[in-house]
Amino acid sequence: MSLNRHQQAGITDEQVLDMYKTMLLARKIDERMWLLNRSGKIPFVISCQGQEAAQIGASFALDREQDWTAPYYRDLGVVLAFGMTAKDIMLSAFAKAEDPNSGGRQMPGHFGQKKNRILTGSSPVTTQLPHAVGVALAGKMEKEEFVSFVTLGEGSTNQGDFHEGLNFAGVHKLPVITMVENNKYAISVPFDRQVASENVSIRAKSYGMHGVTVNGNDPIEVYTAVKEARERAINGDGPSLIEAVTYRLTAHSSDDDDRTYREKEEVEEAKRDDCILTFSTYLKESGVLTDEIEEKINSEVQGIVNEATEYAEEAPYAEPEHALRFVYEEQEG
């Protein structure tokens, strides 16, 4: 019997279901946040919707016990794969004290969790890229065997930090994998008014590094590309730049109205390629996902999201005076 696509990529049936489940969890948390936003319960959402395949495909190709990551604001899928829980995310959405990302100090989407090696992120785009390079440099200096994985949007590849960070990584052949989630828009600005090159991965040539463009709607294709990049990095063959072509299925954020700058038809068309749908179809076709399993996963995910939401909604805010803490290291008293 010929191997199906995920088996060919070295992914077991169990793993592939785990991937699907994580994608679905990301999607469902995201959808719930929009509901909470629209009903006035949380002030802000920024979405992963449409980019789950790229995020989960990539994360599963990494060593999630060893590798480090510097995600960007849409990377709900990445941080879930790296060990953050739905509860953690909801605590952040509600800005509650227990939020492990920031104790409610930052907007949702500003991830960070030391125990899972998720670097703390900020709002100005692309600043995380040199950080990931720095982690890779540290790993190389310390002779540790891990890679550093950083993501950003295609618009963000036009920041100086992209260029400076990747050139540094290229010169020193550091074990860092940069994945650009090209969702074709930077807020309202489409790719061709944003990025002068024909695609993003060709920019790898500027840094003497391996570069490739993959279908970001296909978690297996992304998995394979990241797996290869990781091997290169571990073998001392240096950094890689991977472009995962996706589409942003929602408005830029809960503050945006995308109808002013893109056609409804375009969004509708992209929705037909929604990675959650296409992946579940594939899994069904390859016999891994049965209706029974699907139902089980759905209800499990539903339960997780409900529980996380309830918990977070009930959880307390930080005290007002907590705003004064942790400006500098505090000496134990």
Binding site: F44, S123, P124, S188, L324
Partner: protein, 327 residues
């Protein structure tokens, strides 16, 4: 005279200047088709076209640097930074280049660029969508920094900034955008950059502030007036270089001075205001120079409890004013 919001005054000033002078153009992220994330450039793309309302790539240093080049050529760029917090990647272009072009060329060249950016907190913007960034720029001769408080001032000062032959940073309080409304004449007026403005006359205490703080102080002053305390309120309007004369006059007038900013305290604009007073009219003072500011923490947190704790508001201003009056 029409009543309009603070942000409508921005749009009006931009539109009128673009109509008046075809060398004026706008560049920035999402300023075109979308009309800006706050809609400050709403309608201008349709009226003036994609070339004069230019959607740029996501790169602030290029927005500033390309703008500076166009300004050196002789155009009048008005660059938008999407949030004041994101002006920092352009810091080198603004400080090393724009601010120094006239001086370093011994007056041969000039860079008449205006850089607009929404700043300020109290909008659930968290650390990176709430900051006051003026203090970082307010030590750089060659630059001017304008921070208007009312729609009237916005229109007159933004026009003045665009016509100014030196680089001007124009910071707009994002919470004021829709909160603050006021009368704005439809004629073509400009207000002088570099001049502070007395927003209220009073004999008991002096409040010196700018931006949203002006409104908080005005509100507080009305309450205190009921208690018989009359506050003199000076709106700095231009926070760099400061209007020393107006500051000294306002401080001397009552001898009791409260300085208010929503920035964190140490190193903020109002430190320099205090220093000017302490250097020039110390013996006219009847009380220490008091400052009300945000706490010295990196920026405003997202959670409402902590945001409220950080942010100044009319009540905090009122209390500080009353304390000073009672000193």
């Amino acid at each position: 005279m029409a009543v309009m919001s603070y942000i409508q005054a921005v749009t009006t000033a931009l539109r009128e200047e673009m109509q008046r002078d075809d060398k004026v153009f706008i560049l920035g992220e999402d300023v075109g088709k979308k009309g800006g994330v706050f809609r400050a450039t709403d309608g201008l793309y349709d009226e003036f076209g994609a070339a004069r309302v230019l959607d740029t790539p996501l790169s602030e240093s290029a927005i500033a640097g390309v703008g500076i080049g166009a300004a050196m050529y002789g155009l009048r760029p008005v660059a938008e930074m999407q949030f004041a917090d994101f002006i920092l990647p352009a810091f080198n272009q603004i400080i090393s280049e724009a601010a120094k072009i006239r001086y370093r060329s011994n007056n041969d060249w000039q860079a008449p660029i205006t850089i607009r950016a929404p700043y300020g907190g109290g909008v659930h913007g968290a650390l990176y969508h709430s900051q006051s960034v003026e203090a970082m720029f307010a030590n750089q001769p060659g630059l001017k920094i304008v921070m208007p408080s009312t729609p009237y001032d916005v229109k007159g000062l933004l026009k003045a900034a665009i016509r100014d032959n030196d680089p001007v940073l124009f910071f707009e309080h994002k919470r004021a955008y829709r909160l603050i409304k006021g009368e704005v004449p439809s004629d073509d007026y400009v207000l002088p950059i570099g001049k502070a403005d007395v927003k209220r006359e009073g004999d008991d205490i002096t409040v010196i502030t700018y931006g949203l703080g002006v409104h908080f102080a005005l509100q507080a002053a009305e309450k205190l007036a009921e208690e018989g305390i009359e506050a003199h309120i000076l709106d700095l309007r231009t926070v760099y270089p400061l209007d020393q004369e107006a500051i000294i006059e306002a401080a001397t007038k009552t001898g009791k001075v409260l300085l208010v900013t929503e920035d964190n305290k140490e190193g903020s604009i109002i430190g320099e205001v205090a220093a000017i007073i302490a250097e020039n009219c110390l013996f006219d003072l009847d009380a220490p120079i008091k400052r009300l500011a945000g706490p010295d923490v990196p920026a405003m947190p997202y959670a409402p409890t902590m945001e409220k704790y950080f942010m100044i508001n009319p009540e905090k201003v009122e209390n500080a004013m009353r304390d000073l009056a009672e000193f």
